[in-house]
């Protein structure tokens, strides 16, 4: 068991390393006059030279890469070209907001998606199933930024039930936090709920199909309820994999929604940094999000294997 976990952790390291190197290379693609754009009118030749020196842009590429990796290992991600503050510090200040949003959206998605998926499986082939799958389809297809605008129009501007922008931390004031996180969480949660519902339905039906064969001669309703509860438990395990991936994707995908709702998280920070060509910030956010993604996948992987011994023995991982 321990060997398995260790093996998984070790496998994750090269991925993170790869991301770090890739990020470095992508930033190297930036056009040369980006520096001029950042410095603007203050760009005297001395200043440009000092700038290049600070960011090590004159040294050969492999050496730059080595220095970059060294700094990353020391968790030194440099300073923002805009605010002149340490990048990691600025990101950590905004991370809680994104995590709170992700948490709220995930909870919402599970609260909606799981019952929806179960219902669809229970009434498979009947009207409820069709309706549930229809809504799931819509939920997956609707553009989140459009949904955000519609929700703002209805709930913030017309009904004034929820604020359209602004942020209150969960720790500071849970009730006000709920009011502020409501609309953005719904916007993000609906898409995720759709995916969860589809997976729950499919997984449940799959498990039922296999187990049903074994208990083909079910002795009435009581047996069927037991069957269902057992099936549900088994079916939800692979779903956790999906949820894990969704969370990982969500952390990196809140960018546009955070911007619309003025949610001061990492995503909005990233968008501003992209507009402003603030490369140190962009690089670091990408690495942080990738780290989250890899870690979550790692946890889900291990949890899945621990929970479902059948998978371990089948050795079906690629």
């Amino acid at each position: 068991m321990v060997r398995f976990i260790l093996g998984r952790v070790l496998a994750a390291v090269p991925v993170l390393l790869g991301v770090t190197i890739a990020v470095f290379l992508v930033m190297k693609l930036m056009p040369g006059d980006a520096i001029l754009a950042r410095l603007g009118t203050e760009a005297t030749p001395e200043l440009i030279a000092a700038f290049r020196d600070l960011y090590g842009l004159d040294r050969p590429l492999p050496q730059q890469l080595w220095e970059w990796l060294g700094r990353v290992a020391r968790l030194d991600f440099g300073v923002s070209m805009v605010s002149k503050r340490p990048v990691l510090e600025s990101i950590m200040q905004r991370l809680p907001a994104t995590l709170e949003l992700t948490l709220a959206a995930t909870l919402l998605a599970l609260l909606i998606g799981v019952p929806l998926g179960v219902a669809a499986a229970w009434w498979k082939g009947r009207a409820a199933d069709l309706v549930a799958r229809f809504f799931a389809m819509i939920g997956q297809s609707v553009p989140t930024f459009w949904l955000a605008l519609l929700l703002i129009l209805l709930f913030a501007l017309q009904l004034r039930w929820f604020p359209a922008t602004g942020y209150v931390s969960l720790i500071d004031d849970p009730l006000r936090h709920l009011r502020h996180v409501a609309l953005p969480a719904v916007t993000l949660g609906i898409g995720m709920a759709a995916v969860v519902a589809r997976y729950v339905r499919a997984s449940l039906l799959d498990v039922l199909r296999r187990d049903y064969v074994r208990t083909a001669r079910g002795k009435g309703l009581a047996e069927r309820s037991v069957l269902w509860r057992h099936a549900l438990r088994n079916a939800l395990i692979p779903v956790t994999t999906v949820v894990g991936i969704q969370i990982g994707t969500l952390i990196g995908g809140t960018v546009i929604i955070e911007d619309i709702f003025g949610w001061p998280g990492m995503g909005r920070f990233a968008l501003q940094a992209i507009y402003e060509r603030d490369y140190p910030v962009i690089q670091t956010i990408v690495i942080v999000i990738a780290a989250f993604y890899v870690s979550i996948n790692l946890v889900v992987d291990i949890a899945y294997t621990v929970l479902d011994p059948k998978i371990r023995s089948e050795g079906q991982r690629d």
Partner: protein, 288 residues
């Protein structure tokens, strides 16, 4: 902007049938959209850049079925021409991702061993990248032309194809007829072309359709934040962006572009799902 494959479809004893409502509806939507985009000049009542300054910001009327925008351009016409941009980006990037990703996946599975491990590790790195941020950054770095957007999105969706192609290839690789063909000295490339590709075609086609859906959403998102198609070229996402300041006064400027985006994505999603059910009703797609 999820790149995950669809869930396992276990419909039990579902028959292979073309009569699946999802497939039909999806197919119809996609067909309509493609036709409209191709025949835009004939279908659209006005040109996409045709401004009529004295008739700006009008609500839907007989002359302009969906109203006019802030420069007096007909919204319906712009939506129709916008379909062209969305499809160009959607299909272009999906095809690019398909070609690149499938090649990598097939190569990895076919050759196996160290190459396989290396390539899949590289794909893992791609997967770990936050998709939206990568797209935004690439577009900002490369420039906001349609070609660059297709390039950026193609790169982002490639790893998913690699995984699908690889998994498919692996399952086919072990088949006895493949072994037999190799035994009689069939050359690799020929083997791949004649035996492998037709068998992995189905999952790749399905994945392509689904990728188009995601790419359309992605392009709309990029245009929404001003990093996609530039004015005055029509783009659904950009129309949402410029229309949103009139959210309360003229909601139709926001409602219609978003509706079109949703319909397009829905169409491709339904089509993709339908194709998947058609091709392999019992197949257990990978959970990732």
């Amino acid at each position: 902007m999820s790149r995950t494959a669809a869930p396992p479809t276990t419909e039990g004893r579902r028959r292979r049938t073309w009569r699946d409502p999802g497939l039909i509806v999806g197919g119809l939507i996609v067909a309509t959209m493609v036709l409209t985009a191709l025949l835009a000049e004939a279908v659209a009542p006005y040109g996409p850049r045709e401004m009529n300054f004295h008739r700006s910001l009008e609500p839907p009327s007989a002359d302009h079925w969906l109203g006019t925008d802030e420069l007096g351009r007909d919204i319906l016409s712009r939506l129709i021409f916008g379909a062209r941009a969305s499809l160009a980006v959607g299909i272009g990037s999906a095809l690019m991702a398909a070609v690149l990703g499938t090649s990598i996946g097939v190569a990895a599975a076919y050759v196996g061993g160290r190459l396989d491990a290396l390539l899949m590790r590289v794909m893992d790195v791609f997967f770990a990248f936050p998709a939206i941020l990568l797209a935004l950054t690439l577009v900002v770095v490369l420039g906001t032309s349609q070609r660059n957007i297709i390039l950026a999105l193609g790169i982002i969706y490639m790893p998913q194809f690699a995984r699908v192609a690889r998994a498919s290839t692996l399952s086919v690789k072990g088949e006895p007829y493949v072994e037999a063909a190799r035994a009689v000295g069939c050359r690799d490339l020929r083997l791949i072309a004649r035996h492998l590709l037709p068998n992995i075609a189905s999952p790749v086609i399905v994945q392509t359709t689904v990728s188009v859906a995601f790419a359309i959403l992605a392009e709309a998102g990029l245009s929404f934040v001003g990093l996609g198609i530039q004015p005055p070229d029509p783009s659904w996402g950009a129309m949402l962006n410029t229309g949103k300041i009139y959210l309360e006064q003229l909601p139709h400027l926001t409602v219609f572009p978003g509706l079109f985006i949703m319909l397009a994505v829905l169409g491709f999603n339904l089509l993709g799902d339908g194709l998947r059910d058609l091709a392999d009703p019992q197949s257990r797609g990978r959970a990732r």
